[in-house]
């Protein structure tokens, strides 16, 4: 088997952990225990169970992890339900990496960072955040604003509490939509919280979450005085090939799979609003 773009290799699921009622994180290695391929933060991979389906997922583990890759997967259809029902030891097929990823080595370098995520939107950001932690000297202050429907819907809660909160110059702001027993943190939607925290505008911001959250959070950032050229996001689109050939993810003259999924807000302005 050659390692060509549309031809996957076999992977094995070696760990499954439940993050939220509908999100599980899967650890994947090759049958001989290695990483299937190298990637950069924000890049994705196609996972498949033959006969069930094949779909694109962000690689949520950091490239600096040399042992395995992780995927945080929300149960929402055929393949994702199947994966949620499977056990450790299950083989999958995997191909990638796809997409441009975040400019961690160029535009982000030396910057103060602001990460804003809603729900499963933390998946692609986790990879960048842990990359920044691994190369701590290359980046400035890090603010993280993360919100979900409820406390149980916060992905990677343990890692956030035990690791991110203790990192030097890391400020973590968590919020949930409605009050809940056992939660003494902030309650409210992400866009309003971002304004409330009043984050300085010297940050490079990365936004990831449902389209409606992105829309209102971007508005909030602009009101705080951010420029569109300072704000990045990742888009989601139906995908099949991942290499700009099947035509599915074409918007304007861009292919989300290959030219994206990471875009700067001012770049998105030049595209028809079909995403």
């Amino acid at each position: 088997m050659t390692n060509e773009a549309l031809f996957p290799v076999v992977g094995v699921i070696t760990d499954i952990r439940r993050d939220t009622p509908d999100v599980k994180t899967f650890r994947v290695v090759t049958p001989d225990g290695k990483k299937a391929f190298e990637h950069m933060p924000g890049q994705c991979a196609m996972l498949s169970i033959p006969g069930v389906g094949e779909a694109m997922f962000s690689i949520t583990s950091s490239p600096t992890n040399t042992e395995f890759m992780e995927f945080s997967i929300k149960k929402c259809g055929c393949l994702t339900s199947w994966l949620h029902a499977c056990e450790v030891g299950q083989m999958v097929t995997i191909r990638g990496p796809y997409g441009n990823g975040f400019p961690v080595e160029t535009a982000f370098k030396g910057k103060n960072m602001l990460f804003i995520a809603g729900g499963i939107g933390l998946a692609p950001l986790r990879s960048v955040i842990n990359y920044v932690r691994a190369h701590r000297a290359d980046y400035g202050t890090v603010d993280i604003v993360y919100g979900s429907r409820s406390m149980d819907d916060l992905v990677d809660f343990k890692e956030i509490q035990e690791e991110w909160k203790n990192e030097k110059d890391f400020n973590v702001y968590l919020t949930i939509d409605r009050p809940q027993d056992g939660w003494d943190g902030h309650v409210g939607f992400v866009p309003a919280y971002v304004k409330e925290v009043n984050i300085p505008t010297d940050r490079t911001a990365i936004l990831c979450g449902p389209p409606i959250m992105i829309k209102f959070t971007l508005q909030a950032l602009l009101e705080l005085g951010f420029e569109k050229t300072q704000v990045y996001t990742t888009l989601e689109f139906r995908m099949k090939c991942g290499i700009g050939k099947c035509g599915r993810c074409n918007v304007g003259n861009q292919y989300i799979c290959k030219d994206g999924p990471v875009f700067r807000m001012d770049q998105l302005e030049e595209l028809p609003s079909e995403y």
Binding site: E4, L6, C241
Partner: protein, 341 residues
Amino acid sequence: MKKISCENLSKLYSEIASLQELYLPVKESGVTNYKKYENGAEVDIKTLKTVKSAKDFFFPQTEDMMEFKVNGKNIEINDARKVANPFVIFGVRACDLKSFDILDKVFLQEPVDTMYKAKREASTIITLACNNPEQTCFCKTFGIDASNPAGDISAIIVNGEMLFEAKTEKGAELLNKLTCLEDAGDTDADAERAEIVKKSENLPFANLNLDEFKGENLMKLFDRPEWAELSKACLGCGTCTFVCPTCQCFDIRDFITNEGVRRFRCWDSCMYSEFTKMAAENPRKTQLQRYRQRFMHKLVYFPQNNDGVYGCVGCGRCVQKCPQNLNIIKVIKKLGGKNND
């Protein structure tokens, strides 16, 4: 140059077929499509447009990719790609030939599509000039010369004889092997070609204005209100995309067999409502949006990414086949610029 009398063409077909697999337009029950040559086949070189375009040779309607053996939790992957044996395509018209250039820009760009490339390299293409371009032909609008397509060997009919000229080394090699051909001597095709050029010039849609279709007009064109009227009757049937020689969208699917799971790719269509459907929403909810995508891609997005080369070759298949009589000519006339009426 070499030649053969048109009465003896079956000799030529047999001889080529004895050397390599030969595919050419064959009429069956009134429908003309490329078929593998067999003795007694009703070869049809009068019909200009095969129903399925010649893209099928390199980017087939369906194509096996791999087989999976699934055993409990275990998965084994086996290559299911077919080896591409050398083959000859005879009778490719100028428009379809140009469509290969356009497909190359997609499939041969990094990362190279090896399934496409293998078939492209295994082929020898014999083109055929169009003595009588039709009313629905508008290749001239895209700068294509119907009288003189190249390929590996170019052919043209002049006064009941077919003349051949090698255009590549591969073509010369094949041409030299064909004993049924005689030397063309001083017969030449110049007058016939000039005649074809004149005919093409006078076709109703030969000189459509494309000036407005450029990158800087993207947003303006996208927002034009005329899309509503243009797309109103569209059924979303996808016929236009399936017959189109330059449409290249595909799906990748699994098929459960007795032995395991076969993964194949097949043509897909941006005209289908499922094409971009996602769990939370569909970014193209209306047929207007899907219709607009097809033509914006061909006339604006594709040229923007490919040095101004349009993603249409003016073959007119969509003009002939759309059950609702919608087509790219109507789009160009409405949005392409001045003097299009």
